[in-house]
Every structure is written in structure tokens, then in C-alpha cells.
């Protein structure tokens, strides 16, 4: 089966600094040589800490920014450098759901008007009655009563606003939804409802989804496959449960160990890894493997040579010279002594 979205060796660099005197201090390698596919009907989760490039990657895919190198194709069509005009028909197929339901809705527009605008813009609703019917069915679809079409965003709670944001994305009948941290601004008791809604919609409408989050818990509950990013690189890509049950990359393992679990006895029998230091600046990423400065398993090879994203187990890729395959010995030339027993 051909993938719906294919991303090949994508790069997006931003000039840093500038300001008053336009002296660029260097390039921020926000997304650096990332490749993956999203299949029809699949939810791909992207997880990583702030500044790892996950949002930039999403913006490249919806073409809010133009990538510097590599290609993005949608349904076999190369969209990497298409003009804004040429992208118009594509916008109907790819829709975004934003993080902040308070900032992403126009405070002075009624909910109904907002949804109608989306429908009309793409020339879907032919008559006014047809349009109104669509709006009310959209609202019901996301679990809101029809009378909300006359409300303003300020009348709604955070969860309800996020439902409107989802309805607006669905209004044009997209095939791919890109959701950038859609539940991070919501309270826990409301979060679960939105996650359930996104999963139901995906199943019923056979949507494909790119779901971005910094929360490893949230992402497990919506994703079929998960990609882990670190400093602009995709370091691991695997089926959702495999990431949690058998992480191959030491960074993924450290991330998993750092999540606070809602169980006071969780630390018993759980590996406790506290990473030293901070994420290096994306202006000057370390040579070799970008994680080697903080990796508890790093060896000299990791400082000089960048590991490629390789399939170590069926469907499970990791960019690591010494993946955490239990029982495997570090693949080292005999002259090198491992610094740490594995």
C-alpha cells in the first residue's frame, strides 16, 4: 500500500539572531534529515521535548513553511515547493488542529459563522440551508449541541472550544488531520474526552492523523505508530506498544523513565534514569550522535559517527549505534573496551 504522506530526508533550517543588525548567528537545524511515511487510516504520533523540531516538521507537512531540502509528498503528489495557489485544493485534504483553543478561534465570530466560512471557502456548501445543516451535523459530530452555532468562543469552556477547533478542521472533509499538541492546554478531566473523540473520528471517517505531543502518556492512547524526536532528528520509530515495552534508543528509554506515573509504587521495579544536563543548542548540535553528550551508554564511536535510522526489529527503527537489544553485545572492534557493561 502506498503511503498517504511520504517524507524523505526533510530539512528545515532557520537563521538565528538577525534582529536590528541582521547579523545571523547561525542556523537552527530545526528538522534535520527526517524521513517517514504516514499510511492511510493510520495515526502517527510524534513525541519529543520542546525545541526538538516536532512542530516545525508538522508545519512543513501542511506547507505552512517551505522545507529547505528533501521532499514531502501527499498521495503521491510532490508538494514540497508548490506555490500557495497550487496548494489551495490540497488545503481541503489536510487540516490542522491547534494547541491553544483560546488563541485559535476568532473571539468576535460566532461558532456557526466560523464553520460556515470554512465550508464556503472551499465551495462545498452550495445553498444556505445545506450549509446550515452541515454546520449542525458537524457540531453534533464533535459532541456539541446545535445551538452552539450562535455562541461566541468566550461562552465556551476550553474543552468545548477544542471541539469547535476539531469541527472546523473536519468541515472541509479532510483526509489528513495534523494535530499539534491538541490536548496540552486542557485539564485532565477534559483531555480524555477529546482523545476519545479524535479516535472515534479517525475510525469512523477513516482519517489519517499526525498527532504531535510532548506527553508520552497521551500519545500512547491515540497512536498506531510513534516517532521520537531529539534535536531535529527522528531517533526511533516503531509501533506504539513496542516503544513502551521495548524501547531501543537510550533517549526513548530515558524519556519513559522520566514520566511521572500516577501510581505511588511505580518506582518499584522501574528503571530510574536521570539524564544529566540540558538538551544542547540546536544552533550547534553535537557531532556524531546528537544524544551522545547525555547518553549513559555513549562510546567513542557515538562522538564521531552519526547513526542512521535502521530497522533493528521488524517495523522498529532506531538511530543508535548500540540499540538496547537485550542480550546483544556492543558491536565494537575488539580493540575498544566498552566503558560501561551493557
Amino acid at each position: 500500500m502506498a503511503p498517504l504522506v511520504r517524507v524523505v530526508r526533510l530539512k528545515k533550517y532557520f537563521a538565528s539572531g538577525g534582529g536590528w543588525f541582521r547579523h545571523s548567528r547561525g542556523l537552527v537545524r530545526a528538522v534535520d534529515d527526517v524521513s517517514f511515511d504516514i499510511f492511510e487510516g493510520e495515526t502517527l504520533g510524534l513525541v519529543g521535548e520542546s525545541g526538538c523540531g516536532k512542530s516545525t516538521l508538522a508545519r512543513c507537512i501542511v506547507r505552512l513553511v517551505e522545507p529547505d531540502a528533501g521532499t514531502v509528498s501527499f498521495d503521491g503528489d510532490d508538494i514540497t515547493h508548490k506555490s500557495m495557489r497550487a496548494l489551495r485544493p490540497l488545503r481541503r485534504q489536510i487540516q490542522l488542529v491547534f494547541q491553544d483553543p483560546f488563541a485559535s478561534l476568532n473571539p468576535r465570530a460566532r461558532i456557526g459563522a466560523m464553520l460556515r466560512a470554512a465550508i464556503k471557502l472551499h465551495g462545498i456548501g452550495t445553498s444556505d440551508t445545506d450549509c446550515a445543516a452541515r454546520v449542525s451535523s458537524l457540531l453534533n459530530r464533535v459532541g456539541l449541541p446545535t445551538h452552539f452555532m450562535d455562541s461566541f468562543p468566550s461562552d465556551l469552556s476550553g474543552g468545548q472550544r477544542q471541539r469547535v477547533g476539531i469541527a472546523r478542521a473536519l468541515a472541509v472533509g479532510p483526509r489528513l488531520i495534523v494535530a499539534d499538541e491538541p490536548v496540552s492546554a486542557l485539564d485532565v478531566s477534559v483531555q480524555a474526552g477529546i482523545l476519545n473523540l479524535l479516535r472515534d473520528l479517525k475510525d469512523e471517517l477513516a482519517l489519517s492523523m499526525l498527532f504531535i505531543s510532548h506527553d508520552l502518556g497521551v500519545i500512547r492512547h491515540v497512536s498506531d505508530r510513534i516517532g521520537v524526536m531529539y534535536l531535529g532528528k527522528l531517533v526511533e520509530l516503531a509501533p506504539a506498544d513496542a516503544i513502551y515495552e521495548r524501547p531501543l534508543h537510550p533517549y526513548t528509554e530515558a524519556l519513559l523513565s522520566a514520566i511521572p506515573l500516577p501510581d505511588p509504587d511505580a518506582h518499584l521495579g522501574r528503571k530510574n534514569i536521570v539524564l544529566e544536563g540540558d538538551v544542547p543548542s540546536p544552533l550547534a548540535p553535537p557531532p556524531g550522535c546528537r544524544f551522545h553528550t547525555r547518553c549513559p551508554h555513549a562510546q567513542s564511536l557515538c562522538q564521531s559517527e552519526e547513526p542512521a535510522l535502521v530497522e533493528h526489529l521488524p517495523g522498529h527503527r532506531a538511530a543508535c549505534h548500540f540499540p538496547l537489544l537485550s542480550g546483544s553485545l556492543p558491536r565494537l572492534p575488539p580493540t575498544w573496551a566498552p566503558t560501561r557493561p551493557r
Binding site: 485539564d187 485532565v188 502518556g217 522520566a258 501510581d263 536521570v274
Partner: protein, 341 residues
């Protein structure tokens, strides 16, 4: 030590919103024993931050706030102190760290000066001695190379380091109570882990008492001895963390715990969610139990506000719900957690 370090009795905080008084903290009583970590957990608008700020005596001079009740700290009722006396308690007796380390540090002053200021205000040491004390503090909170970093500006620090600097500032005068208001919410998971580890270590080393405000039940499980769950300005359940998480007695706590998409939980068909949203307190309080409109165990009696009470089996675990104990045990049973990795 006899008696708790902090004893809050019938605290009420009302805020004037457009001419109307909204009760955001309603008749709240709790205590924190010396050397203990109490986590106050709840969703946005439940009054947890207002409570923390009330203990610290912040927003007291704000005319739109009205406080009532007693806050006894170390045998002294803080509500009776005037601003000058309160200033002596702040810093020396109670230290506080805030959610956002980016905005709580002054960008125009060096880190060392800002930490030293706390020492100077409380008249500790001369210039030379203070500098040495600050270096020691930075060392203690795990800032590498503190001799050099003391002269850095906040923008030269990463988010995690800024929060460490904030902690150093709060600890400068050796307070016996540390209030941490969402100290890790603005941080990444791996940095959050570092900060939580640091707080636990400082607590153990200094025998410090900690009041930590968070919305994250994972953080609570990680660090708390006791937990107080707040909903709509009231305490709905409080007790030892194992007891509350293992056998929740209030439907809100139980359903909140069940709704978390925890990373150690295998993906299920649906997450049990809670319908509706918490009441907006500025629009008036709901009658009776505030959770009643969202509760699927609600019955006739819930129109009356239940008292905070413990049951016979566990006298250290309080909840505010009318359901009989036997029914609670049955209805609020937590699903078995997924296999741990």
C-alpha cells in the same frame, strides 16, 4: 516536633469580580507536618494556587481579595501579622518557587545578585560572605561550575537551570517550609525529573517541609507523602498518597485517576472521561456538592454539601461524599494498571 508546621483553619478567599464576590477558596482546613511533602492537586480554577499564595501572604494588599480564617505557621497566626512582620516570615520561614522560571527572574540582574538579595534583605552576611553563600547554594541545587555561573544573566541559563536558581533563591535563608507552585509545569519531562529529584533530595537533607501545587497526578505519586485533592475551592479528599491513589473515596478523585492516559497503561478502546467541566466559580457556586452535575453516582442527598469526614477503617483519609463507605469501595475501584515496563 509537636503539632503540625502549617495549620490552615477555615480559610476562605473571596475575589471581587466585576462588583460580585466570588468564593474561590471555601472553608478550607488542612495541616502539614514538619518534614512532610503535601501535594495540593486539582484542575485549573480549583483554588490551589490561591491557597498557596494565601499561605505566603501574597495578594493580601490587593483590595479585590478578601481573606478569612487562620493560617498558623510554626505556632504563629500569619493572618494577624502586618506586612512588615509578614516580610520577615517570607524568605526566612517560608520560601516559594513559581511555575514560570522565565518570568520570575529579573532579566536585567545577574543570577548571583538576585539570590544574594534575599540574603541581604534578611541581613545575612557581608558582601564577601554572601557571594560565598550564593556559590554554595548554586552548588547545592546542582548548577555546574557555580563560581562562573554566579555572574550570568537569566537568559544565559536554560529553563531547568533557571528553576534551579529559583529554588536556590527560595532556600537562601533556610526556610522550614517550601511552597512550590507548579514548579515543573513549564519544563520538559527529563528536566522535570531532575527538578523533582532535587526537591526530594533537599527535603531529605534539610528536613524541609514542602507544599507542592500541581495539576499532574503523576507528579503527586512521585513526590508526595500526603495529597489533598481540590475541586471548586474545596478539599474533596485528603490522605496519605498510597491510600488516596489506591482506594479513592470521592468519585471525582476516582474518575480523575481513571481518566489519565498514563504511559504505563495499555491502550484501551476508550478512556473513561468525565463529562462536563468544573463550575466557573466567578459565576457562583453550585448548590450542594459541587461535583454533583458531573457525578454519575449522585443521589438526592447530594443537594446538601457533605462534610469532610473519615470513615472508621482509616482515620487518616478524609473525603467529602455522601456515599456509604461500602458502596465507595465497590463503585470507585480503580482498574488494574497495565503491565509495568
Amino acid at each position: 516536633m509537636a503539632g503540625p508546621l502549617v495549620d490552615v483553619r477555615s480559610l476562605s478567599v473571596r475575589i471581587n469580580v466585576g462588583g460580585r464576590m466570588a468564593t474561590v477558596v471555601d472553608d478550607l482546613s488542612f495541616s502539614v507536618a514538619a518534614g512532610e511533602v503535601l501535594c495540593i492537586v486539582g484542575e485549573s480554577g480549583c483554588g490551589k494556587t490561591v491557597t498557596a499564595r494565601a499561605v505566603m501572604g501574597l495578594s493580601r494588599s490587593d483590595p479585590s481579595f478578601a481573606f478569612a480564617g487562620e493560617i498558623v505557621f510554626d505556632g504563629q497566626n500569619l493572618m494577624e501579622l502586618d506586612e512588615t512582620e509578614m516580610r520577615r516570615v517570607r524568605g526566612a520561614g517560608i520560601g516559594m518557587i513559581f511555575q514560570d522560571p522565565m518570568t520570575s527572574l529579573n532579566p536585567l540582574h545577574r543570577i548571583g545578585e538576585q539570590i544574594g538579595e534575599a540574603l541581604a534583605t534578611h541581613g545575612r552576611g557581608g558582601r564577601q560572605l554572601r557571594r560565598q553563600l550564593v556559590i554554595d547554594l548554586l552548588q547545592q541545587v546542582g548548577i555546574p561550575n557555580p563560581e562562573a555561573r554566579i555572574d550570568d544573566y537569566p537568559h544565559q541559563f536554560s529553563g531547568g537551570m533557571r528553576q534551579r536558581a529559583m529554588i536556590a533563591m527560595a532556600l537562601a535563608c533556610g526556610p522550614s517550609l517550601l511552597i512550590a507552585d507548579e514548579p515543573t509545569t513549564a519544563l520538559d519531562v527529563t528536566t522535570q525529573k531532575q527538578i523533582l529529584t532535587l526537591i526530594s533530595r533537599l527535603k531529605a537533607e534539610r528536613g524541609m517541609t514542602v507544599m507542592l501545587i500541581t495539576h499532574d497526578l503523576g507528579v503527586v505519586a512521585e513526590i508526595a507523602d500526603r495529597v489533598m485533592v481540590m475541586y471548586a475551592g474545596q478539599c474533596v479528599e485528603t490522605g496519605l498518597v498510597r491510600s488516596v491513589f489506591g482506594k479513592p473515596r470521592h468519585p471525582y478523585t476516582a474518575r480523575l485517576l481513571a481518566s489519565i492516559p498514563a504511559a504505563n497503561r495499555v491502550r484501551s478502546a476508550r478512556l473513561p472521561s468525565i463529562e462536563g467541566a468544573p463550575p466557573v466559580l466567578t459565576e457562583g457556586r453550585p448548590e450542594g456538592c459541587p461535583f454533583r452535575p458531573r457525578c454519575n453516582q449522585a443521589f438526592d442527598r447530594c443537594i446538601e454539601l457533605p462534610p469532610l469526614m473519615a470513615d472508621a477503617g482509616d482515620t487518616d483519609h478524609f473525603d467529602r461524599c455522601w456515599l456509604p463507605a461500602s458502596l465507595k469501595a465497590l463503585l470507585l475501584k480503580q482498574p488494574e494498571p497495565g503491565p509495568e515496563r
